[in-house]
């Protein structure tokens, strides 16, 4: 990838080797999603822009897989623009992407508007048999998906499909379009994007939130009557389904979360495995404290609902514009702690506060210390 002279300027130390290490499983964890989405949809690139705007950044990952799906699926069908087809062939050639047709010029051309009407011929062009040298290539971008009739998507013909790719329908991953179809066969729209928004980014201990989203197909159409699951996870825990529902006519769905006892991540997932982005709802603990004064010492019995064992609880007071720490305690397994501090000579309002952690937000309450 680089000239030798250029490369020699980089010292061969462990840092460079580490930075250039092959992708880790975590970094490549979404590969299966990409592969599965290869068959999930084919769509005009113009609609990708509309779709991206509709679903927003949150669903971009899904949208990207859809776009790649369209691009690669088109590459298999030799319907990408020449430079793109050539690049795809150089990279994906081993898995069956054909080279660009030679009768076209190889210079980059500006995007041309889709001109091919949804005809049977165009449909066949989108899924040519690679074994047929006379397969008609298309003339520019946009035609790759011009064969898609409104309301339907097409899948590459089995003869063009990459064989043995992990995660492809042939490998039995349950991709939305895993059912092989004949060339040009129209299949129903399948979910390709799922948005999500929580009614609030914060909830008190024991509170709930409503998580909403919209399911749409690759071409941007919203999909009604689709099963959707609300899944949640907390720190260190796997995703679990906590609610189920189905989309309304407008593709929207709203599901209520269970009561929150710690900061929780939510996502929506369709039956086809399309997942939304993740929304985080921070749990805000409820702090209460009672004071018992005895012989110049105040004992504060503190209860933190929504706190975690080991959380630090601080008692502080404002003096001369500064916060002065009086005492600290640690929550026990029952979410309580007793903190003792000398009773001030004058009646003093103090703040009892538990700090923010990965499991909850900061919260506090005020109590008054005074000699009895």
């Amino acid at each position: 990838m680089e000239s030798r002279d250029d490369e020699e300027h980089l010292p061969a130390n462990p840092l460079v080797r580490a930075l250039r290490a092959p992708g880790s499983p975590a970094e490549l964890a979404r590969e299966a999603e990409f592969v599965a989405a290869f068959r999930a949809a084919q769509q005009p690139q113009g609609s990708v822009r509309r779709l991206a705007g509709r679903v927003g950044i949150a669903a971009t990952a899904t949208v990207t897989t859809v776009v790649l799906t369209a691009g690669v699926a088109a590459a298999y069908g030799r319907v990408l623009p020449q430079p793109v087809q050539r690049l795809a062939h150089s990279v994906l050639g081993p898995v069956g992407v054909p080279a660009p047709h030679t009768r076209h010029r190889t210079t980059a051309t500006p995007p041309a508007p889709p001109v091919t009407p949804p005809t049977k011929q165009a449909t066949q062009d989108a899924s040519p048999d690679a074994s047929q040298p006379g397969s008609k290539p298309t003339d520019g971008p946009g035609q790759a998906t011009a064969s898609q009739a409104p309301g339907a998507t097409t899948t590459p013909s089995p003869s063009n499909a990459p064989v043995g790719l992990p995660g492809t329908p042939a490998a039995g991953t349950g991709s939305p379009t895993s059912t092989p179809t004949q060339t040009g066969t129209h299949v129903p729209r399948v979910p390709a994007a799922q948005t999500i928004v929580a009614s609030s980014g914060e909830a008190v201990f024991g509170g709930t939130v409503t998580v909403s989203g919209v399911v749409s197909a690759a071409d941007g159409h919203v999909l009604g009557h689709r099963a959707v699951r609300l899944q949640e996870r907390t720190r260190g825990e796997p995703w679990t389904t906590v609610a189920r529902g189905s989309t309304a006519h407008d593709g929207s769905v709203s599901l209520a979360s269970p009561e929150l006892d710690r900061t929780t991540y939510f996502r929506l997932r369709t039956a086809h495995g399309v997942r939304s982005a993740v929304a985080r709802v921070v749990e805000k603990p409820a702090v209460s404290a009672s004071v018992t004064e005895n012989g110049g010492t105040s004992s504060l019995a503190v209860t933190v609902l929504g706190g975690q064992p080991g959380d630090k609880v601080k008692v502080s007071v404002r003096r001369s514009g500064k916060t002065v720490l009086l005492a600290t305690g640690t929550l026990g397994p029952d979410g309580t702690t007793v903190i003792t501090t000398p009773t001030p000579r004058r009646r003093t309002s103090v703040l009892v506060r538990v700090g923010a952690t990965e499991d909850h937000a900061a919260a506090g309450t005020r109590v008054t210390l005074e000699n009895s």
């Binding site: 010292p11 462990p14 460079v16 975590a26 929580a198």
Partner: protein
């Protein structure tokens, strides 16, 4: 998928350190934008790599502006415990890469970005210079000094020693 397998990890590493704000989202947007702009692209794999990282940089800048303009509820997905390392070597390598990225992140932002584009993204000095608006000589010296300094960091050495131990054990 080879294209994605080859370029997605360095893309994530670049975005994680240089643009520490939803790297997964920005990487996804980058692929979206790259595919969308492919019809106007012409060049070899080297040029595509520069093209992809240029798109990533621009998307990250846009993302940062948008995020500062409006707060959002959405957050990056927490790391899933999906594929555990199957061998100690992989674990050490991952730890080493992570340590290296953390070291690079400790550099001044501009220098860190030059290191990432030069080393992680594998771009030529001239390309990096054009992207960050510096002279090629500045980029070359800055990256060289950073790598020299970070290479002497004890954390990097310990990671390297761990790797060597694993390799020796495998030989034995």
């Amino acid at each position: 998928m080879e294209l994605w397998r080859t370029l997605h990890p360095p893309l994530l590493r670049y975005l994680t350190v240089a643009r520490n704000d939803s790297p997964e989202d920005i990487a996804a947007e980058t692929w979206l934008q790259a595919i969308r702009d492919l019809p106007r692209f012409e060049g070899d794999g080297k040029a595509f790599r520069a093209f992809l990282f240029t798109v990533a940089r621009n998307r990250a800048i846009d993302h940062g502006r948008a995020r500062s303009a409006r707060p959002v509820v959405l957050v990056a997905e927490p790391v899933e415990e999906s594929m555990a390392p199957s061998a100690e070597e992989i674990a050490v390598e991952r730890a080493s890469t992570q340590a290296a990225l953390e070291l690079v992140a400790s550099l001044p932002p501009a220098q860190a970005e030059m290191v990432l584009l030069r080393v992680v993204a594998g771009l030529d000095v001239a390309v990096v210079a054009a992207m960050v608006g510096k002279q090629p000589g500045t980029v070359r010296v800055s990256v060289h000094r950073a790598l020299r300094a970070l290479g002497r960091d004890p954390r990097m050495r310990s990671s390297s020693q761990q790797q060597q131990q694993v390799q020796q054990e495998e030989v034995v």
